[in-house]
Symmetry: C2
Subunit: 357 residues, 2 copies
DNA sequence: CGTTTCTCGAAAAACGTTTTCTGAGGCGTG
DNA sequence: CACGCCTCAGAAAACGTTTTTCGAGAAACG
C-alpha cells in the first residue's frame, strides 16, 4: 500500500510477509535466499511497481552510480562529442552523467566540483585548463577518482586521455611544408591548456627542423573560439610578410579564420592554406571542406570513462595511466601549394574569384 | 575528527559540544539559534571543512536539487544550446543537471526516465518525440514536474516551451513567395515531432493561401539529420519539375541540402534558394551563410527551466503554461529570386560560378 | 508567588536502503 | 547423541541529514 506515495521496500516486505532484509537480499541476489521466497518477493515487487530509491542506496552504499562531467561549455562543437563517448560507457555501466559548464572560470569550476563531491559522484571527468590550480587540486587529491581529457597537469600524474599533439602537429607542419609553404601561421590556444602548449612546442620544433620561417609574428594566441580565429586572420592580414598557410589549433578556431579570409577576399586554398584540428562533424561539409587533424572524440570520451570505471571499481588505486591517441590528417580542400611557390608576399593583391571584374 | 574520511555533522557537533540538531539549525538558519552558538558552529564547520552530504539531505528532504534533462543526442548542434540555457537557470537555483541521451528510442527513454525518477530528480525537461507514448506518459503522470521543449503532446496539456511554428513557417514561405518562388520543397522532420508536424501543416496552408504549387512530390520526410537533408536534395534533383527553393525544417538538415547541392553543382542561391530553421551558431559563417528562422535556443532552454522551477517550488500544481516563442527570419545569402522568374525547369543546366569556363 | 509564554538546545524519529548480527532448524559426522 | 556446520530469514544497526518533540530555564504577567 503506497500510504505516502512512494512504494518502499517495506511495502513489499509487508505484502509478502517477509522482512525487509530478506526482500533486499532477494532482489539484489547477493545472499542466498530460498527460491520460493525469491519468487514471491519478485512477484510482489513487480506487482506493486517497486523501484528502489537510488538516493537511499547511495547513502548506504556510498556509491551513487553517478559521474560528474566538467566541460568549459557544451555549446562548443567539439565538447558534445566527448560527452557522447562518456555517456556511451556510462549507460553501459548504469551510471548517469552530472553535467557542469565551467566557462573556464576557476571559481565556477571549484564550486561545481564541490557540488559534485557533495553529491557523492563516483568519479569525475574533467575537460578543463585549471587542473593545476591549487584550489582545484585540493578537491582532487581526495579519494574521488577522476580523469582528465585533453588538458593534463604538468606537475601531477593522473589518468589522462589526450591526443598525440607532437605527432599531430608535426604531421600538419610537415604536410604544409611538403606543399611548399615556408611561412606558416599558428593560431594557438591559451597557454594554460596543455594541449595548446604541446601543439605550440611541436609547431616551433618542427618549423625549426624543416627550416621554415621562425617568426614570432606568425604566432597568434587565441582562446579556441570562432572569434579568436577571426581576429587571428585579420591580424595576419596586417603583416607585411603574411603567412601562406595557417594552422589553427582547433576547428572552430579554423572556422573563424576561414570566415575572416572570406571577408578579406582571400580564397582558400588558392590564397591561403588552412589546417584545422579536431575534425568536428561539420568540417566535412563541402562548404567548409576543412583539412584537419582527426580526433576520435567520441572514442576518447569513452576511453576516459573506461579509465574512470577501472579506477572506481578497483580496490587499490591503480597507477595512473595516460592514453595518448594518435591523430590522423584528413585532407579535404583547404590546403594547396602556395600561389607563388612559397615566397608569398601579396595574397592581398589577388582578387577573389567570385568577382572576375 | 574525520574517523572515516568524511566529516559529518556529528563531527562538528562533537567539536562544538552541541547537538547535531543545533548544528543543523545553526547552519541552515531555519530555526532561531543563539547568536554565539551559531558563531561557534559556523567557525567549527569552516575549520573542519564540513560539507553537508547532498544525498543524505535528499533522502530526508525528498528534494535532490537535481533536474533531469532528456535529449535525443547532445552531438546534434541545436541541442547543446538548449542545454546551456537550462544550465544557466539550474546553477542560479543551485541545481545540477543529469543528462541523458535517448537517441529517440522509446525504450531507452523509458529506462532513462525510470533512472531519473529513482534518483529523485526534482523535475525533468524533455526534448523528445515520444511524449505521447503510453509507457512514457505512465512515468510522467506521477508527481515529478516536467516541461517539454519543442515537442508537445497533442493529447495532454503540459508545461511547454516551443517556437511559433505557424508564424515561422508562414514567414518563410511568404518570404520565398515574395522573391518569386512558386515551387517550394519542404524537408520535414518526423511526424511524431509536434514541431515538425506544425511546420508541415503551416507550410501546406501557406502554400495553398499563396497559390504556390501544391505538389506532394515537394514534401520529403526526413529525420532532422544532415543525411536526411542530403538525401532530400538528391531526391528533389530527380524530379522532372524541381523546386526552385527548399525549406528545411532544421538547420542541420539544411546543411545536408547545401552539401548535396554543392555536389550536384547547384549554386545557392543562384540555382536554388535554401531556408533553414533554428539558426544554429554556425549558420552565420560566410561559408555557410544560411538564411534561417532564428530560434533563441538558449533563452528557450532557460524559459523551460524557469517553468520547471515554478512548478517545483509551488505548493499546488499550477495550471500548465505553454510558452510560444516567436521566431525571426534572419536573412543571409542563401535565398534569391528564382533564375527564371519562378518557372524553373533546369537548374542542373546552370554551372556553378566557380568554374567560369 | 504561581502560571503562562518564550528562548534555546538536546534527544529522537524519520527518510529508504544495505549489511551485520542473531538465531532457528536441519543435517552430516565423529 | 553431541557437536558443528550449513541454509535460511528476521531484527537491528548503520548511512548523514532534517524536523519534530520534548524539556529546562528565564522572563512576563496575573
Amino acid at each position: 500500500m503506497p500510504d505516502n506515495g512512494r512504494i518502499t521496500i517495506r511495502d513489499v516486505a509487508a505484502a509478502t510477509g517477509h522482512a525487509v532484509s530478506t526482500v533486499s537480499n532477494a532482489l539484489a541476489g547477493k545472499r542466498h535466499v530460498n527460491e520460493e521466497t525469491r519468487r514471491q518477493v519478485k512477484e510482489a515487487a513487480e506487482r506493486l511497481g517497486y523501484r528502489p530509491s537510488a538516493v537511499a542506496r547511495s547513502l548506504r552504499m556510498k556509491l551513487s552510480s553517478t559521474i560528474g562531467v566538467l566541460v568549459p561549455d557544451v555549446s562548443n562543437p567539439a565538447i558534445p562529442e566527448f560527452i557522447r563517448g562518456i555517456d556511451d560507457i556510462a549507460v553501459r555501466e548504469g551510471c548517469t552523467i552530472l553535467l557542469c559548464n565551467t566557462d573556464e572560470l576557476v571559481e565556477r569550476q571549484v564550486s561545481q566540483m564541490q557540488t559534485l563531491l557533495d553529491r557523492q559522484v563516483d568519479g569525475m571527468i574533467l575537460i578543463s585548463q585549471h587542473c593545476d590550480t591549487p584550489e582545484v587540486r585540493k578537491l582532487l587529491d581526495g579519494k574521488t577518482p577522476f580523469v582528465l581529457i585533453q588538458r593534463r597537469s604538468s606537475r601531477f600524474r593522473d589518468d589522462y586521455v589526450g591526443s598525440d599533439n607532437l605527432q599531430g602537429m608535426r604531421d600538419s607542419v610537415t604536410y604544409l611544408h611538403g606543399l611548399g609553404h615556408r611561412r606558416i601561421g599558428l593560431v594557438t590556444g591559451p597557454g594554460t591548456s596543455s594541449t595548446a602548449q604541446e601543439r605550440f612546442e611541436a609547431f616551433e620544433a618542427t618549423i625549426a627542423d624543416l627550416g621554415c620561417d621562425e617568426d614570432p609574428d606568425l604566432i597568434y594566441r587565441g582562446d579556441y573560439t570562432v572569434e579568436a580565429g577571426y581576429d587571428a586572420m585579420h591580424y595576419f592580414a596586417t603583416l607585411s610578410k603574411r603567412p601562406t598557410a595557417v594552422i589553427a589549433s582547433n576547428d572552430v578556431c579554423a572556422l573563424g579564420v576561414q570566415d575572416a579570409a572570406s571577408e578579406l577576399g582571400l580564397s582558400i586554398p588558392q590564397d591561403l592554406s588552412l589546417l584545422g584540428c579536431d575534425d568536428i562533424d561539420l568540417a566535412r561539409l563541402r562548404r567548409i571542406n576543412l583539412s584537419t587533424l582527426h580526433l576520435p572524440k567520441r572514442e576518447m570520451g569513452a576511453a576516459a570513462a573506461e579509465l574512470l570505471m577501472r579506477r572506481i571499481h578497483s580496490k587499490r588505486p591503480p597507477t595512473p595511466r595516460e592514453i595518448i591517441i594518435p591523430t590522423e590528417l584528413v585532407l579535404r580542400e583547404s590546403c594547396a601549394a602556395p600561389a607563388d611557390g612559397g615566397n608569398a608576399k601579396r595574397p592581398a593583391e589577388r582578387r577573389p574569384l567570385v568577382s572576375p571584374g
